[in-house]
Symmetry: D2
Subunit: 77 residues, 4 copies
């Protein structure tokens, strides 16, 4: 599945086996995000993680920074 | 600030100094949630964490389980 | 690789690709440990995690609780 | 309490209320370490976290990188 660009946000949903697997994924995304100083808007409920990326400093639109974070996240799964 | 019951969900927003502090809080909530086998719907962006609790098995309404999780979360901050 | 029982401790080393993968594994072990109220002695450096299990309340020997936690950990990898 | 330099390692022990608090601290240290690409040797058991820092690339001695990481860790507690 691909990232979808919609309303100036880059979006993707991730499904895991259970909460533990989902939260471990979130921990890895957190490590990347903090390293890039670029943090996601994300929603978690149980085994599902929905991520939406946009760049606040650029006026809440999708920038290269978001595409780079998206790429880093995709490498985790 | 208190939890608000709205649309069959128990809701509260938490603000932290930065992402690191917010994510450490989320990690502690994750430990409680997994222990209780009762997981939140939650949204994080940078230093803000919004939590909404309801009990899926009871038909997505607020139950004692949600109040117990809410209490556990409040003890963390 | 198997767990080794040595000096009243159940031991195993885990190797990962990098720190991020190792720490995500640790997060999942933390969730299990907290759920069981039974916590490991563990050492991490970069991509390596060494776990040693024993039961303090039983006089620091290996008990069924340790074998159960070991089993739970093995399911993660 | 201060960091102690011993055997070419910068060392400090941290005590917390419980495992949850200790692991939340570890998560924050992980975020800093990954951002700096400089990772600790650390041991956790329940509410205790022992950290030892040295720089592998410099021949396993204490360098400025270790002092910087130590400073970052101290800001968390």
């Amino acid at each position: 599945m691909e990232w979808i660009e919609e309303n100036n946000r880059l979006k993707k949903n991730f499904k895991f086996t259970n909460f533990s697997e989902a939260f471990a994924f979130m921990t890895r995304v957190a490590l990347i995000a903090e390293k890039m100083d670029h943090h996601p808007y994300w929603v978690n409920v149980y085994n599902s993680v929905s991520i939406e990326l946009s760049t606040h400093d650029a006026g809440d639109v999708v920038t290269e920074k978001d595409r780079e974070l998206a790429k880093g996240i995709d490498l985790l799964v």
